[in-house]
């Protein structure tokens, strides 16, 4: 019976219902998409580094675990010394440059032969390896996003580069240029910012890491498993704060809209609450009716938010293919719980106010 009353009330005020559902849907979709985008970017970046195929990363002293963030270059000769150590199969020096000309992305300057030795080589979807110092390789996602074809030119580091090949994505950056060219353009001759190291067997990674640390005290050296464990949003400076602020904003919107919606409802339905009280409805009964109505609106909003988030992810994937959005069941559940909590808190005061209405005044309400 209470369900009938709630459903009929919700259907009786379609605009209020639509606005409340929309607000909750925006809240849920915002939480899912913001978190999904942050996690998607971090995880995609980590997966691409893992995709290089290295077992160990060697970086300068004091370097951030995030590739490309403010490290001083190391002499490439270090790589030659590392390659001489036992159980080391290959060492690929690279300069990882943060390009923020169009959007923030990483460009790898690579030595093709050693990078192939570590990664097993690129899979070319069209074109082929570098033919000249100002050639660039792009991955298929970048090519699709920018409608880039082999032979096209693009400006990198204030120089025109010709696209020599389009490679399958997943091996580090989305764009690669020859290491020597990168060294010239960044005034880092015979330097590298990262060494990708391949062991003769991945099982030796920790053992070789220890040997590297003895040889290069103070350098930042990670087995790839440790690097992958570090690449989470919890370890990215400020990212968790950003996510928390965005979630708080989204929950705040949901809370306020539900609060206003239910508060208005209580005012509109003062007489109806008086009627229920005249029939002997207790305070708890009135509170539950209001809370259940808010919960129904929220539940519909949550479903709409899920659907909206999936649609927006699809749209974003089409418009910005390089921005991966990972929608996980965990965060769907969190977003739903947050929306529910926000709406229960938002409707609690109006519910309490309704329960405390004087029945005589409520019945006389015009």
């Amino acid at each position: 019976m209470v369900n009938k009353l709630i459903v009929s009330n919700v259907l009786h005020r379609p605009i209020r219902t639509a606005v409340s559902v929309l607000a909750v849907a925006i809240e849920v979709a915002m939480v899912i998409l913001v978190v999904g985008l942050c996690h998607g970017l971090v995880n995609d970046s980590a997966r691409r580094v893992e995709g290089v195929g290295a077992d160990i990363l060697v970086r300068p002293p004091g370097a951030s675990f995030m590739l490309g963030l403010g490290e001083a270059p190391m002499p490439t000769k270090i790589g030659e010394r590392l390659a001489e150590l036992p159980r080391v199969l290959a060492v690929a020096p690279a300069i990882i440059h943060v390009n923020n000309a169009e959007s923030v992305d990483l460009i790898y300057g690579i030595d093709m032969s050693s990078y192939n030795a570590v990664s097993g080589g690129f899979v070319y979807l069209s074109g082929g390896p570098f033919q000249s110092p100002y050639d660039v390789l792009v991955d298929d996602i970048y090519a699709n996003a920018h409608h880039t074809k082999v032979g096209a030119t693009m400006n990198l580091l204030n120089h025109d580069f010709k696209v020599a090949g389009i490679v399958e994505h997943g091996k580090g950056a989305r764009r690669f240029i020859p290491l020597t060219t990168m060294q010239d353009l960044t005034a880092s001759q015979d330097k590298a910012t990262t060494f990708f190291v391949k062991c003769t067997d991945p099982a030796y990674a920790e053992q070789v890491t220890d040997a590297f640390k003895t040889l290069l005290p103070g350098y930042t050296i990670y087995p790839i498993k440790e690097y992958m464990a570090l690449m989470t949003s919890n370890n990215i400076p400020g990212l968790n704060y950003f996510i928390t602020v965005m979630i708080a904003l989204a929950v705040g919107i949901g809370f306020l809209v539900i609060f206003l919606s239910m508060y208005t409802t209580i005012t509109e339905r003062t007489r109806e609450i008086g009627i229920l009280k005249s029939l002997g409805a207790s305070k708890a009964y009135i509170i539950l009716v209001i809370l259940r109505e808010a919960t129904l609106l929220t539940a519909v909003g949550i479903i709409a938010g899920f659907i909206g988030a999936l649609i927006l992810r699809k749209v974003m994937g089409g418009v910005f293919p390089t921005l991966p959005v990972e929608i996980t069941w965990d965060w769907r559940l969190y977003a739903a719980c947050l929306a529910l909590l926000g709406s229960i808190l938002g409707s609690f005061y109006p519910a309490l106010r309704a329960a405390q209405l004087d029945p005589v005044d409520a019945l006389a309400y015009e």
Binding site: M1, L11, H12, R271, I275, L276, K277, L279, G280, A281
Partner: protein, 223 residues
């Protein structure tokens, strides 16, 4: 036999801002079970306040109110709500049906709030007696005033209350519908020995009661 309503020296004073407004100034009243009592008097004489106090919608300022053995002085607000749920049925001048529910659900919600479950036998008997059994799927806006008031009566008596309190039940009805509603109330009183206390301005309406109480300035002036 103990009276179903026993009121002694009942005083009710409302406070409007800093001004005390006396609504009842010492009312004594005894009603036996099965009586049909009409309370008449001019506007502002305290009729509605008396009805609200007897129904437990508001508490007295002073005096003793004892309904079916329940002394209001000893009852909290929650106790009075529980008491109202089980022992009182209200009929209002403005029908006061829930606009989003059908007639059937408006009646059934009283049973739901009472918590004793749906009693189909009584439901059928009441709705047939009140002549609304063919209108149960209609919402209030699709019913005439007379039909709405009969739905309100059905809602008020569906849980077999000890007392039916009717506040100007014919005040919003034309003569024909007023007569139908009054006939229904009299029928309820005769068939089910339903105790009814009805407030009215209308002398003809009061005429159907077994007993007429006149009020003025917060006091009973004749009984």
């Amino acid at each position: 036999m103990e009276p179903i309503i026993s009121v002694k020296s009942l005083v009710k004073t409302y406070r409007l801002g800093k001004v005390d407004v006396p609504a009842l100034r010492g009312v004594d009243l005894v009603v036996q079970e099965g009586e049909f009592v009409a309370v008449v008097g001019p506007s502002g004489c305290g009729k509605s306040t008396l009805l609200h106090i007897l129904g437990g919608l508001t508490g007295p300022s002073e005096g003793q109110v004892c309904i079916d053995g329940n002394d209001f002085r000893l009852m909290t607000d929650a106790d009075r709500t529980r008491f109202r749920r089980h022992k009182i049925g209200f009929v209002f001048q403005r029908f006061n049906l829930l606009p989003t529910l059908s007639a059937r659900d408006n009646i059934a919600i009283a049973q739901h709030i009472q918590g004793n479950g749906f009693n189909p036998h009584r439901f059928e008997a009441i709705t047939r007696m009140l002549g609304i059994d063919k209108k149960l799927n209609h919402r209030p806006f699709a019913l005439s005033g007379g039909e709405q008031q009969r739905v309100a009566i059905a809602r008020a008596v569906i849980c077999e209350p000890k007392i039916l309190l009717a506040d100007e039940p014919t005040g919003n009805l034309d003569t024909e519908n007023s007569q139908v509603v009054l006939d229904m109330l009299r029928e309820l009183n005769r068939t089910f020995r339903q105790t009814i206390l009805m407030i009215t301005h209308n002398p003809e309406a009061a005429g159907i009661a077994n007993r007429i109480i006149r009020m003025r300035d917060g006091r009973i002036i004749s009984d």
